[in-house]
Amino acid sequence: MTGPRETPRWDRLGPATAARLEEAALGILERTGVEVPVPEALALLRDGGAAVDGARVRIPERLVTWALGAAPTSVTLHDRAGRPALELAGRRHYFGTGSDCLNILDHRTGERRRATTADLVDGLALAEALPNVDFVMSMYLPSDVDPALADRHQAAAMLARTRKPFVLVTYDLAGMLDGLEMAEIVAGGRAALAARPQLGVYINVTRGLLFNEDSVRKLLACAERGVPALWIPVTSGGTTGPITLAGTIAINTAGVLAGVVLAQLAREGAPVVVPGFGGDALDLRTMVDPYAGPEPKGVAASLAHRWGLPMFSLGAGSDAKVVDEQSAAEAGMTMLADALAGGHLVHDLGYLESGLTGSHVQLAICDELAGWINALVRPVDVSDEALALDLVDAHGVDGSYLELDHTFAHYRERWYPTLFDRRGHEPWRAAGATTMAQRAATRVDQLLAGPRPAALDPDVERAVRAVVDRAEATAGL
């Protein structure tokens, strides 16, 4: 298989296991194939050398090899001003929120309730203000708008309220096209959006081997426009795939590779982002889809690195119902795993209850965890200035370093927590004897009370709103 390979800090699979999984996925593509219910896509695949039988497509290895060579090894997302912000390549990782939580755990009341537009607006303001949140997703699904058009409202809100890169999630092709139209208005046209995309489009694919029509049409439309497409098939072990980790990941990987092939056939060099997650199984005791299971971590990331493809990972999601020890532990461990695996876009900060509930407080805690992890993976500076051998020579075995200019120049380079408490017992007690969650809630309130600098130019915002209004006017027609 071609493609540049960069070993992440943590390569879960190693070359031999990765090769076996890749071989298994290629075998599935050749023998079983994938279902692609879109005539234009079938024509592209047939012309590309795949065997097409009805909607079933069997893809030969050489076509996959070609596509992996043709797909860009790096995708760069930009901030709203058009400056490069996140380069999805190599060992990098970036942290961002999740999307579409039905509920919010309201830290002001302790109540779990349906999320509203006001929560969406607050969540985006919070994500904008938190320093270690690198990109955003919609966080909440507002219950106070027409459910069929919630994706348009989310797209407009993200464009109007964040300058950070974001990931757009929409229901169907029409929703995606409306979202892209809004993004083009903000970027200054279709060419500008393709050249300096602030967003990637999340494409939810039914199953590893079964593509829904909208997912295929979205992929083709993104390829045509040069907008990064996040091609995300989901196979659930024991239900839509074998219960074993290897069996599930093999099926899902086949679907991932088929998407890469299709995108490259649609337009060679089309930016496509693959999952850095997969291989989960439903919890067969509770029937809940777990977000923080240990076994799949790093598996899909190892494969994506093997092919040198940009990826979209899933960390920080917790299965806890409230912000507690479980939510902090699950978020911290999964974020660390994805960072060490070089998971590029790592989403779902702030998720509780397996993605059904979001929490501002959990997001603030994840921001702190992200800061810690970012400091962990920073390369060690061994410059002369950092080694300071001259100081050792000068001060000998019993030198005192606290009052030295070198200390004054560098002490800020150490990571200092915002929420983790490092006070002594008495000062901690004097300051209210707070827990981490209490301090996080205070930080949320402070940030939400602060300035909200991300507002769009009013004319641009009106033009974006007009796309939402048009969708509302034509809904149900």
Binding site: L102, P147, A148, A150, N212, L282, R285, M287, L356
Partner: protein
């Protein structure tokens, strides 16, 4: 004597051992135990035990499925005897379930169907992306007591309301009860659209179905 036989039946179901269940059923026939007694006092207690273990979070779904498979093997053996004796096994109720039009999520719906089956209901699963017309036709065809409507998306849950209206228009309401489920579905939503009940999870759906059947009987 019979106690030992009932224990072997219960054990076979709890262990999910289909061969042992079939053997225990054959042994019951040979020993002259009436088939309905074997079912009610031998195999069903095993099924209930596994169901309770699953509800408590001690057992896994595959444990339930293996138990149900063992139970079915025993029923296959006992069925000819039931027919010979011209007795019909009482069915807890007839249920038509499916995922509403536009929605292809099936895992939750399948689970509810399976648990209802293992609890003695006759279940007709229409699959996913089911139109209101198909729901109405299936209710009529199977003389259903209950319709279960699944929807996982906020964009498709409105389909539950449409189907209730279609059942109404076909003159099937209120005798035919409607229960709704799915991630975005709440008790408030169920009330708003005039459903008879809602459950947060599959085990709760079985309890709900039992209540709804009981209510239906009382009303008749």
């Amino acid at each position: 004597m019979n106690d030992t036989a009932f224990e072997a039946m219960r054990r076979a179901v709890v262990d999910g051992d289909a061969d042992a269940a079939a053997a225990a059923a054959s042994a019951a026939i040979a020993a002259g135990i009436p088939p309905l007694v074997a079912i009610d006092e031998g195999f069903m207690p095993g099924m209930k035990e596994v169901g309770a273990g699953f509800a408590a979070g001690d057992l896994f779904l595959p444990d339930m499925m293996l138990a149900a498979r063992a139970m079915q093997r025993a029923l296959n053996v006992l069925e000819p005897e039931l027919q010979k004796a011209a007795v019909e096994r009482a069915v807890a109720g007839r249920v038509v379930i499916g995922t509403v039009a536009g929605d292809i999520h099936e895992i939750g719906k399948n689970l509810v169907g399976m648990l209802l089956s293992t609890s003695g209901f006759e279940v007709h699963d229409l699959g996913v992306n089911v139109s209101p017309e198909r729901f109405v036709a299936a209710v009529q065809e199977h003389r259903a007591d209950i319709v279960g409507l699944s929807a996982l998306l906020t964009t498709t849950m409105t389909g539950q309301r449409t189907i209730i209206a279609a059942l109404q228009a076909a003159g099937l309401r209120p005798p035919v009860k409607v229960m709704v489920g799915g991630a975005p579905v709440t008790g408030a939503w169920a009330s708003e659209i005039g459903a008879d009940g809602y459950s947060e999870d599959a085990m709760g759906a079985v309890e709900l179905a039992k209540r709804l059947v009981g209510a239906g009987e009382a009303a008749r």
